[in-house]
């Protein structure tokens, strides 16, 4: 009998679906992904700092979930607090496209009537508006999807809700997930939580609204997508911790594509533990997305994000070599360079940590530069060809990248895919031969080759006459499917520092202000050429 006898593709897929449905006790509908996870997540109790319970919006996911499990806080109280924050401030921050107040409160009351056995039970979450939400408008901030109501949820969203998460709203984003959040026509919307009066200060894109919502307490955590830095950049800009997992860790089924081979869904949260809880809920095999199948099992991320102390001192859970590339300390901004040095000193001071110098692989600047980065363009064009034929103005300010994808030849696209293999091999052989995790001066290289990254705060930039206090962030990259190692390092760092606990000071709520706010003069919109240049 030949190897392909007896197991047709149809039967193979049916078995996969049955396995997934069996795990949830529900049948799979066509096009509807499973909410199965591979193993029940570890529930970790985290005590809230003194005084934090007076403002539940300031809690981390882990702290709030612990209070809910102990009967000290209800989901309805928590959701109401976030909704009040939204009502008071979203006219200023413009983090949301759509607020689902009634649905969120109804879901919270429903959850309050059941035993809290899941890690996200009753936690309000902000969802980027490129995740399908069944029957709820999903626009990706584009004219194209202005009236689109998906027939099913994105797999990642259904998993978050199965874990007890409460979708409080859909967030502002760069049009089609390209730039910082703007209207489809390029008018700047969401502002940085630390600088609401300075719309010219970049809040990070394209998961801007998710980050601003999390930083301002409009939600306790959120999800974004990263193709060229769109989880780590807004996390760095707004003092948050964001985890872009390895390609395939989280299903892309039901997420509007920007670049098939580089889109990564992941959490934007307040610390490493919250990233662990969120990613544990989102991750896992999905029969509707082959990229999630046949991969290493998800490690126990909440364990990884739990700091280890020995003899009263924080230690790394495992011996870990932290690689530093030559470009990392070469920042032209002295405050950034100083923060990076202090960060490396803090890491070097952790037992079981070794900071080592590692080289940048050969041809690094070339293979991560604009031309090779542009290999992504045909991937955004291909699924949108019909819209390009219909009306170019449907793409608003973002059209240029989509037109550019029509001009690269097939052989040039393949050259780009071969370059990815060369880059991946060089990173594995030349960088990860000498270290377990590596600092990142910018996120794009690991987006190109699908490796995990975590962005988190390491300092604050002092206020100047023109700018307020702003967070300084950094990025750490890891080996394929080794998100646990990244979380171990960041959890230990966050156990010995408090940058992740710094919150932006909210101004008086606009409705209560005696005088109208006066934003500084700033570019009110992005041009199409700017959008093409800076888009992820």
């Amino acid at each position: 009998m030949s190897i392909d006898d007896g197991l047709s593709r149809r039967l193979f897929l049916a078995r996969l679906s049955a396995l997934a449905a069996g795990a949830t006790g529900s049948a799979l509908l066509p096009g509807v992904a499973s909410a199965a996870t591979t193993a029940p997540p570890t529930l970790v109790d985290v005590d809230a700092p003194d005084g934090a319970t007076t403002d539940p919006t300031s809690l981390t996911v882990a702290e709030a979930a612990t209070l809910i499990r102990r009967g000290k806080l209800t989901s309805e109280e928590l959701v109401r607090a976030c909704l009040e924050r939204i009502e008071g401030y979203d006219s200023l921050f413009q983090a949301f496209n759509l607020v689902l107040a009634d649905a969120a409160l109804a879901r919270a009351r429903q959850l309050d009537g059941s035993s809290p056995r899941t890690a996200l039970h009753g936690i309000p979450l902000a969802i980027k508006d490129n995740y399908f939400s069944r029957g709820v408008r999903t626009t990706a901030n584009s004219f194209i999807f202005a009236d689109f109501e998906p027939p099913y949820d994105a797999t990642a969203l259904s998993r978050l809700e199965a874990a007890g998460g409460v979708m409080i709203g859909k967030t502002q984003m760069g049009p089609l997930a390209t730039t910082r959040a703007t209207t489809p026509a390029g008018v700047i919307t969401t502002v940085n939580a630390w600088a609401p009066d300075h719309p010219n200060i970049n809040p990070g894109g394209s998961s801007t609204g998710s980050a601003t919502a999390t930083a301002t307490g409009m939600a306790l955590s959120s999800v974004g997508t990263q193709t060229g830095g769109s989880i780590t950049a807004p996390s760095n800009a707004q003092g948050l911790t964001g985890l872009k997992p390895t390609m395939g860790r989280v299903s892309l089924h039901g997420i509007i594509p920007l670049t098939f081979t580089r889109d990564h869904p992941g959490p934007i949260a307040r610390d490493a533990m919250d990233c662990a809880i969120m990613l544990t809920a989102m991750a896992g095999p999905d029969p509707a997305d082959f990229r999630t199948l046949g991969l290493p099992q998800l490690p126990d991320l909440t364990r990884a994000a739990t700091p280890v102390r020995q003899g009263g001192q924080t230690v790394l859970r495992r011996r870990t070599r932290i690689g530093v590339t030559p470009d990392f300390l070469a920042s032209s901004n002295p405050e950034t360079a100083a923060a990076r040095r202090s960060y490396l000193d803090a890491l070097a001071g952790l037992r079981h940590a070794t900071v080592v110098e590692v080289p940048l692989p050969a041809e690094w600047d070339l293979l991560t530069g604009t031309a090779f980065n542009n290999v992504r363009l045909p991937e955004r064009t291909e699924p949108f060809r019909e819209y390009l034929r219909q009306d170019l103005q449907l793409f608003g300010v973002s059209v240029l990248n989509w037109l550019g994808g029509l001009l690269l030849s097939g052989d040039e696209y393949l050259t780009g895919q071969r370059a990815k293999v060369v880059m991946f091999e060089r990173v594995m052989d030349e960088v990860f031969d000498a270290c377990d995790v590596v600092v990142q001066a910018q996120p794009v290289p690991f987006d190109i080759i699908g490796l995990p990254e975590i962005g988190f705060p390491i300092g604050l930039r002092a206020a100047t006459s023109d700018t307020p206090v702003l967070p300084i962030g950094t990025i750490l990259g890891g080996q394929p499917y080794a998100e646990d190692r990244l979380l171990e390092v960041v959890a230990a760092y966050q156990d010995v520092t408090d940058w992740h606990r710094r919150r932006p000071e909210l101004p008086p709520a606009p409705a209560a202000s005696a005088a109208p706010r006066a934003p500084s003069l700033a570019p009110a919109r992005l041009s199409a050429l700017e959008a093409a240049r800076i888009g992820q």
Binding site: T182, T183, P184, A185, V187, T246, G248, F260, T261, R291, L295, L366, T370, A371, F372, N374, V375, L377, R385, L388, R389, D391, L392, Q393, F395, G396, V397, V399, L400, L403, G404, L406, L407, L408, S409, D411, E412, L414, T415, G416, Q417, R418, A419, K420, V421, V422, F424, E425, M428, I449, G450, L451, P480, Y481, R525, L526, S527, A528, L529, A532
Partner: protein, 96 residues
């Protein structure tokens, strides 16, 4: 390599418009002046950007190949992979 004259802006514009028309995309849909309602670029801005893609991206990609320099040997390495990190997991390390 043969000494080939670089194309002019006019030649590239003709190439761009023909390529787009070939697949049913019409740059004439873009405005001739700024349109704040849609944020669309002008047709001239689009051509400027697209010429840049051809002159920089296409030329750079076309001029690169994996090492070694001998093209007969370069053919033998780095077969294209859309998902290198996933492929690494699926195959058990080692793509080249």
């Amino acid at each position: 390599m043969a000494d080939v004259a670089a194309p002019t802006d006019d030649e590239l514009d003709a190439l761009i418009e023909a390529r787009l028309r070939l697949v049913g995309v019409d740059l004439a849909q873009l405005p001739t002046t700024e349109d704040p309602t849609t944020g669309s670029p002008t047709r001239e801005e689009a051509l400027t950007y697209l010429r840049s893609v051809l002159r920089n991206t296409a030329v750079t990609l076309s001029g690169w190949s994996p090492p070694p320099d001998d093209p007969a040997l370069a053919q033998q390495v780095a077969p294209p992979a859309l998902y290198p990190s996933s492929t690494d997991a699926w195959t058990g390390r080692g793509l080249a």
